[in-house]
């Protein structure tokens, strides 16, 4: 709050002083100028004739997409099963690797704050910064196209996600339970399994189901780079301009995502 004292008049109350007001406006001005400059950059790289054509193109696209090719759905059950497997097995693998990593990264459970913790944190960060589609791109080059590359891509990306959220949960546990167990003479392994694990179990289940839900979504597009699942059919249909088939795939993805979201919401609601 700033008070401006004026001679002969009652003092004027303002939220900010004049200098602060000016700084806020300058900040907004800079933000707007930056956004406009960035848009200008994009605009220079855009063929606007195509953009003005977009409504017609869009209408044309929608015209081609309907009616959906329902018969094509018969060929989609196996890729859909693969997609669900990629997400589920990828999540399972990420749990197997991510849980030990989280215990190594958490301040209160790590064996060595100086040596092990920074290494575990680095693995978590590297895994998180690279999108699963890029992991898939790399793995397809190495392993060849297929479901295995997809599972590993999902696992490598989810590893960091599960590791990060779980180690934060481990660091936030109630110390008193750990102390109570230590005072009974429990060894470190017993403290871990009877004081720490029960406290982070609900968080762990919630994180895993949440990530599985995200992974279903991610797994639908991994096929675009050859990593298996329904995305392979999507890529093939787009490349042959078979838009009615694309619509069928979209509808199937929509239904799968809706079911997985409902399922994950139910499970999380039951746990938390």
């Amino acid at each position: 709050m700033a008070v401006i004292n004026r001679p002969g008049q009652p003092p004027l109350w303002k939220r900010r002083s004049t200098v602060q007001d000016l700084l806020v406006w300058l900040g907004w001005l800079a933000a707007v100028a930056l956004t406009v400059a960035c848009f200008q950059f994009i605009s220079e790289r855009t063929i606007w004739a195509f953009v003005w054509d977009a409504p017609r193109q869009g209408a044309d696209l929608v015209g081609r997409m309907f009616p959906p090719a329902w018969g094509y759905a018969d060929q989609l059950w196996k890729p859909l099963w693969d997609t669900i497997n990629i997400a589920t097995l990828g999540t399972a693998l990420a749990v197997l690797l991510g849980v030990p990593l989280a215990f190594l990264a958490a301040h209160n459970t790590t064996p060595s704050v100086v040596f092990v913790r920074p290494l575990a944190l680095f693995i978590i960060v590297a895994s998180r910064s690279i999108n699963s589609l890029i992991w898939a791109l790399i793995l397809v080059i190495i392993l060849g196209p297929g479901v295995l590359a997809g599972i590993l891509a999902i696992a490598l990306r989810s590893l960091g996600f599960i590791g990060k959220l779980l180690y934060e949960a481990i660091e936030e546990i109630d110390r008193t339970q750990v102390e109570a167990l230590e005072s009974t003479g429990a060894n470190p392994a017993q403290v871990l399994s009877w004081a720490i694990v029960p406290q982070v179990m609900p968080a762990f289940a919630g994180i895993t189901v949440f990530r599985w839900d995200i992974n279903i979504r991610e797994a639908t597009v991994l096929g675009l780079v050859g990593a298996g699942g329904i995305g392979m059919q999507l890529e093939a249909s787009i490349n042959t301009l078979a838009w009615p088939q694309v619509t069928t795939i979209f509808l199937l993805i929509l239904a799968t995502v809706a079911v997985s979201e409902w399922l994950s919401a139910r499970v999380r609601h039951a746990i938390i």
Binding site: A31, I42, F50, L61, V125, L137, G144, W194
Partner: protein, 272 residues
């Protein structure tokens, strides 16, 4: 008075912690189901092990690309890709936030009448269901290759994300403040500006910073479907087997993501 006698049966009964799923029937059903699913899923994966073995050479070639990464040869391409990614991120975040504000107000049950609420929730659901890459495919088909398609994709994804989380926050506001402002005879806009906005502002700023961070990460993969950005450069590098350049791009992405994450964490801590 009954003397305490040694109860052998009770001593033999060891205490166990309550299981996560209380009903034993449901618990074993879940275990059995998980086992059956794992066997089925693992059985349906086809892995071409000879191809995977051949990939070891490529894995070695890819890893050697990191020692040292090649920033120089394709620096022009890398620079162009980076600039596209950064401009896409900034414009799409700004546009997405601006568009999400009215939707968020409409999607809050305590502010909007039912028809408006359902309409806004439908927009949010559409935006959140599909993976960014799928939306990018549609925008590329409509407005052509280049960063504009990527920008539109990210703006659309930002819209759903921000509107959903902001609407939840608006639904949780303190009613007393809103009623106090209304009691002074304020109109609808003054009411929003002075009672709702101040209450959700910290979350709005925090979410915006978080979304800026997500948008940069996503902008790195949109190039795979032709929507511009650093992903385009990365994809080209992989296609030409220029692993040195690919490694350089990956390292740059990790560095920028780390910087973004750190900055957005700082902003969120400062605001909340």
């Amino acid at each position: 008075m009954s003397a305490t006698t040694f109860d052998a049966a009770a001593a033999a009964r060891r205490w166990r912690p309550p299981p996560l799923i209380a009903s034993p029937l449901l618990r074993y059903a879940v275990y059995l189901g998980a086992l059956a699913y794992a066997l089925l899923a693992l059985g349906s994966i086809e892995v071409n092990w000879t191809r995977a073995a051949e990939g070891l050479d490529r894995a070695a070639a890819f890893l050697s690309g990191f020692f040292p990464p090649d920033f120089v040869t394709k620096w022009e391409d890398i620079q162009e890709g980076l600039l596209e990614s950064v401009t896409m991120t900034i414009v799409s975040t700004a546009a997405g936030i601006l568009l999400s504000l009215p939707i968020a107000l409409g999607a809050a049950r305590n502010l909007a009448p039912l028809p408006v609420y359902l309409f806004c929730r439908a927009i949010i659901a559409i935006s959140r269901t599909f993976q960014e890459v799928i939306i990018a495919i549609i925008f590329v088909a409509m407005v052509g290759f280049g960063p504009l398609a990527g920008m539109l994709t990210l703006a659309f994804a930002t819209l759903g994300f921000m509107a959903k989380l902001l609407a939840e926050d608006i639904e949780d506001i303190e009613r007393a403040q809103a009623e106090a402002v209304r009691a002074t005879g304020a109109g609808w806009f003054s009411w929003i500006a002075w009672s709702v906005l101040p209450q959700v502002k910290p979350r709005l700023i925090g979410l915006s910073a978080y979304r800026l961070d997500i948008n940069f990460r996503e902008s790195a993969v949109l190039g795979l479907v032709g929507a511009g950005g650093i992903g385009d450069t990365l994809n080209t590098a992989f296609d030409r087997y220029e692993f040195g350049t690919a490694a350089a791009v990956l390292l740059i992405i990790i560095a920028i993501v780390l910087a973004c994450e750190y900055a957005s964490g700082m902003i969120r801590r400062w605001v909340q």
